[in-house]
Amino acid sequence: MIDGIKIGLEIHCQLTSLQTKLFCSCHCDYHGKLPNTNVCPVCSGLPGTLPLLNQKALEYAGLISLALDCKIPNETTFYRKNYFYLDLPKNFQLTQYNVYGITSIGIDGKLEYDGIDEEKHARIRRVQLEEDPGRLVYENNDMDSSFYTLIDYNRAGVPLVEVVTEPDFTTPKDVRIFLNKFTSIVEHLEICDTKLEGSVRCDANISIGEGKRIEIKNVGSFREVEKALSYEITRQKTMSTHEIEIKAETRHWDDTRKITKQSRVKEEEQDYRYFQEPDIPTVILGNEFLSSLKTKMPELPNDRKNRFISDYKLSEHVSQVLIDNKWLADFFESAVKIYSSPKEIANWIVSDLMGFIDENNHHHNSQASMEEKRSELKVEARHIAELARLVDQSNISRNTAKMILNQIITTGEMPSQVVERTNSSKIDDKGLLSEAIESVFRSEKSAVSDARLNSKAANFLLGKLMQLTKGRADPKIALDLIKKKLIEPD
């Protein structure tokens, strides 16, 4: 750990589970729609239109606030953040602002997480609601060389929750762990489909020692956030060794070259001329809001983890891996419902299934590509449940089960079907096994002699037997039979 590193985060999370945008009745889901078809007079900022606050968005932002242990003020309002940019239909963004009085939905929270060495927490400065701007599209996705700028307002007005942390992180690794935990929380709240492209975005700021604060933007995924921060630490440390002054600036992450670059557009100190939006009356939240949130609060990852440990007797580590990804945890519980063998099922998921998901997944560990990978897998809870049952009931060996899993992941067949088809049930019939052992004894005469002198060499014979039966022999019964036959007179 390097002394004096301070990292803070600004996370934007789209409330994709809402039906409509933040201030109009356009659909919230703009993905895959033709440009500028998901718009109305309100979200395209036509003259004379007024914003109509989506009450459900308040509830969702309230749920995040509570999950992050925030205080919820008695009332909330919206502010205009005024600046000119092509992607802003009104040339101001409706957001919340706490400088002239607290208006955001949540303040002063914290989130605990398992840091690399110890239990840690990051303080949450605020949780606020705001509208997403439109999207700018450039030739070849490159702003610098593009001959044109196209504007798509489909995204304009989509509700965002902005979560701002205090600069409480000291290593990039912790940031990653925190972000995973945050993702799991919003997944458990069922307010954001984190696998949708652009649904969760994170900017970071970092300073080292006495150095100035650097903002890092344009980071595509959480793994990239970790990389960008590591890069910045190296860059800033090198600079200070050479006694080069670190100036406050905004840097963009270049995800092909894996470096941060000074923003081409010089971002001067902007005055956003914040003032309260007169068209949205102040919303009184009060105790009623708070108690209604509490009744709607689903089980959060921490509680779920504790339940996994106490009810299913899973280890802390396995429980943590499962709840870090709501999909996995749900998968686990569905499988357990079908066949109640939690430890066996958890092991299949954590040590085997996870491997398939993680495979080839190291370059783009964004939530989106993880989802892609997992949707390619044809395996469902019922498959794993059956696999666990077959192993438990000693129908197949663990090795066979692994081979079966390998197949059904791409075919979607049920394990029992595969067993039937390949006749790969364990051979536990003593008659059948004895026949096979006879044949091994005939072909491995010298080994048999050795084994008669040294009982440990019996394992070699067992290996040969397994080869012969393609792994289907029940090893326990087979070894007993081999040992028995060794002491029989020749």
Binding site: L46, P47, G48, L50, L52, F84
Partner: protein, 484 residues
Amino acid sequence: MVNLCSLTAEQVVEGVKNNHFSAVEYISQILERIEKIESQINAFTIVDANGALKKALSIDKKIRDGEDEKKIGSLAGVAVGIKDNICTKGLKTTCASKILEDYVSPYDATVVKKLKESGAIIVGKLNLDEFAMGSTTEFSRYGATHNPWNINYVAGGSSGGSAASVAALECTVSIGSDTGGSVRCPASFCSVVGLKPTYGRVSRFGLISYANSLEQIGPMGKTVADTVMVMNSIAGMDDNDQTTLNNGAPKYTTQSKRNIRIGLVKELVEGIEPEVSKCIYSAMDVFSKSDCKCEETSMKSVEFALASYYTIAMAEASSNLARYDNIRYGFESNPDSYEWNAYFAKIRSNFGEEVKRRIITGTYVLSSEYYGKYYLKAQKVRTMLKQELSALYKIYDILIAPTMPVLPFKFGEKIDDPLKMYMIDIDTVVANLTGIPAISVPAGFSKGLPIGLQIMADELQEQTLFETASLFESTANVQRSPKL
């Protein structure tokens, strides 16, 4: 045949429904009247003769077919003009600005929708100061509106077209918007009745915002009864405007009441033109003779009202007008070879001088360095005014004042001196800052120029307001339309 243009809205509905004349006959006379005198008045930005005749035909048909009262509507046949900062589907909405010269809204403002449902006939869009910023209609891209009582004088503003068109019998009633007196000022200057309702009583959906927290759409007419009829059509809660109040459907009447407790706000009369002051004091006598208890009263924080008003209005305006960047809509202009900041600058240089002045001032007062010094202080004045008013309304049912501190003046007299121009709003801005309803009623004349009496009631007390205004109207009996 009678001159149908001079009828009140009440008489038009009566006449059309009972077949004394057809809507088409009446609208034809209105259109002829516009044809004849519009060149002298310049009240309209657009006249929709075809649309008006078509609607008149359909109303006549409904009546011939014996459709029921409700379908024909409470304003059946009445010619109404709409201020050109209120959106009308399929008819240009220009705000009298180059920036929106070709803009056609894809939707109707809520008031327009309600008026159409009530059977009113929209004859056209009415002239205003650009984006409703002004008190004389001289800041219109389409030229100033002339005062029908003397065409060398201003008609007031910013709803100059709305007031002048009614006074000049070019339409029977009209719709204006009032941010700091924009309905009441021209009503006073043109000797018609003009109402600014309680903030939130009428939907602002479709009103192109100048200063959202201050403005309301309001009706104008020759009589108090006509504004009541229009209010009964347009007021009420609207799902498209979350600042509208949940106060039930309007059922206002014009019965005149006596024994009203009335206070004349002396700070609003002090230092005004003596002719106006004299007229207001005689209005007090009119009330006293009608068994009302009348006295002078004081409202100290009025002193800060004007500064507060202009600070807030300009701040909100600077943000509201930011969207006019010619990217999604606007006028013909080629952005080729411009960097976007340069293009924004080029486009926005097309605003008129007064609009630019307000955007720049508003930008300044909202900057983080000055926010506390100006904007926040201005908001505190609003709270002070509200507190003082609520104490006063425990003693009085009604407060009165002049609508304007001056008589209508000649073109160009104040246009080069913004401060002088802003000063004449001193009597009207209190109602906008506090949200209370206020109405201007013709009170008399001096040198042939109209004077208006302003009547102010407490929040949502429009009924008391109408009763007081009706009482005054029937007693004072002031002339409503000039010979032209």
